[in-house]
């Protein structure tokens, strides 16, 4: 779970592009993230739109966030019961967003960068060959702050890079590093999610052990129409990965 309020502040330009309509042309979308809740924070609005358009979405979730530090407030779990709780929260979020195909890789939180890289790439490559998506959504490798985010994103783009060009899906990456604009320029894909903002809020809330406190604050800020908070429920931005 990450908070964007701090590091979004230097980016106040007008929204560069709105490409929500292009989503309707997708055939099948794979969302690939390491932790239950990454999907809601990064792409809940986009997923909800895809669901409205009748486009199937598969979520490949690598871990169950076993090493998360938040246990809920008041405390809902301990180190040993947390994985089951986070799995239930994830299933609730998937139901809200219309994700019917959830694949759990069963890896352990905070260990992805230490896995055998080739093994991880082939696991993802096999799933992508089976699912055959037209679009993959993940983090931008090297610009995702958490080592799990970066390791999984790297494996994802590498797995796609190894596919024959004619069946290679498009890859939308979310960059969250403070230097992302300097390094990557503006995001070339900005999805207007304002029509499904309620779904995004509900999905984020479903991950209650991680989000209960911040959602209270966020909802107050949205009610006050604070620009930083409004970004959460109005737009999701991605960089198309160039192979």
């Amino acid at each position: 779970m990450f908070l964007l309020t701090v590091y979004d502040q230097d980016y106040r330009e007008e929204w560069p592009y709105l490409t929500g309509r292009e989503l309707q042309e997708e055939r099948h979308v794979v969302v690939l993230f390491p932790h239950p809740d990454d999907e809601s924070f990064v792409a809940a609005g986009t997923i909800a739109l895809l669901n409205q358009y009748g486009i199937p979405v598969t979520y490949i979730c690598a871990t169950l966030g076993e090493m998360g530090r938040r246990m809920g407030h008041p405390v809902l779990a301990n180190r040993e019961t947390l994985p089951e709780l986070r799995k239930q929260e994830l299933e609730r979020a998937c139901a809200i967003l219309g994700i019917s195909d959830l694949r759990l890789l069963g890896l352990r939180d905070k260990t992805l960068e230490f896995e055998d890289e080739e093994w991880l790439i082939s696991q993802i490559g096999d799933l992508l060959s089976e699912i055959h998506p037209s679009l993959v959504i993940t983090f931008y490798p090297g610009h995702a702050i958490h080592p799990d985010h970066d390791a999984l994103a790297y494996a994802a783009v590498e797995a796609v890079a190894r596919m024959p060009e004619e069946i290679r899906p498009t890859v939308y990456c979310r960059a969250i590093s403070p230097q992302r604009f300097e390094a990557l320029g503006k995001p070339d894909v900005v999805i207007d999610i304002s029509t499904v903002a309620d779904k995004k809020i509900a999905a984020m809330k479903a991950h209650q052990s991680q989000t209960k406190e911040m959602m209270k604050e966020l909802e107050q800020k949205i009610a006050a129409e604070e620009p930083e908070a409004m970004r959460w429920v109005q737009r999701e931005e991605f960089w198309t990965y160039t192979f």
């Binding site: 938040r70 301990n78 180190r79 040993e80 994985p83 958490h146 406190e213």
Partner: protein, 116 residues
């Protein structure tokens, strides 16, 4: 989990003394600590299912608490412990939470391996 009851923890440490045990020991400042604090420093370590046996174990302090386990050839130690539970499987789970309710340290002992 509940705030630590030192007597309950101590008697559990007595019960587990001399047995072959699986250890989960963890400290963490969180993967986003550097990001939020703006400083390039994150510290943490964990071992899961390390196999240990201790001669004696003690809980000390008045909260947060410290636990030390003396082994034949060394020590296991954790500080900053605030909460505990002895779960249905008889496992002793100890954890420390900071002011915002985030886990900062965990020390757990079990007679059977921890899952995963």
């Amino acid at each position: 989990m509940k705030p630590i009851n030192a007597d309950a923890v101590q008697s559990c440490l007595e019960r587990l003394k001399g047995k072959e045990l699986f250890l989960h020991l963890e400290t963490t400042s969180g993967a986003y600590a550097a990001h939020h604090a703006g400083k390039p420093f994150v510290a943490g370590a964990f071992i899961r299912n390390g196999l240990i046996r201790y001669q004696h174990g003690k809980i000390k302090g008045s909260g947060p608490y410290r636990v030390g386990l003396k082994m034949d050839l060394g020590w296991v130690y954790a500080e900053g412990l605030t909460h505990f539970v002895i779960d249905q499987r008889g496992r002793l789970l100890l954890a420390g939470y900071d002011d915002s309710g985030n886990l900062t340290v965990a020390l757990q002992l079990s007679e059977e391996p921890f899952d995963h």
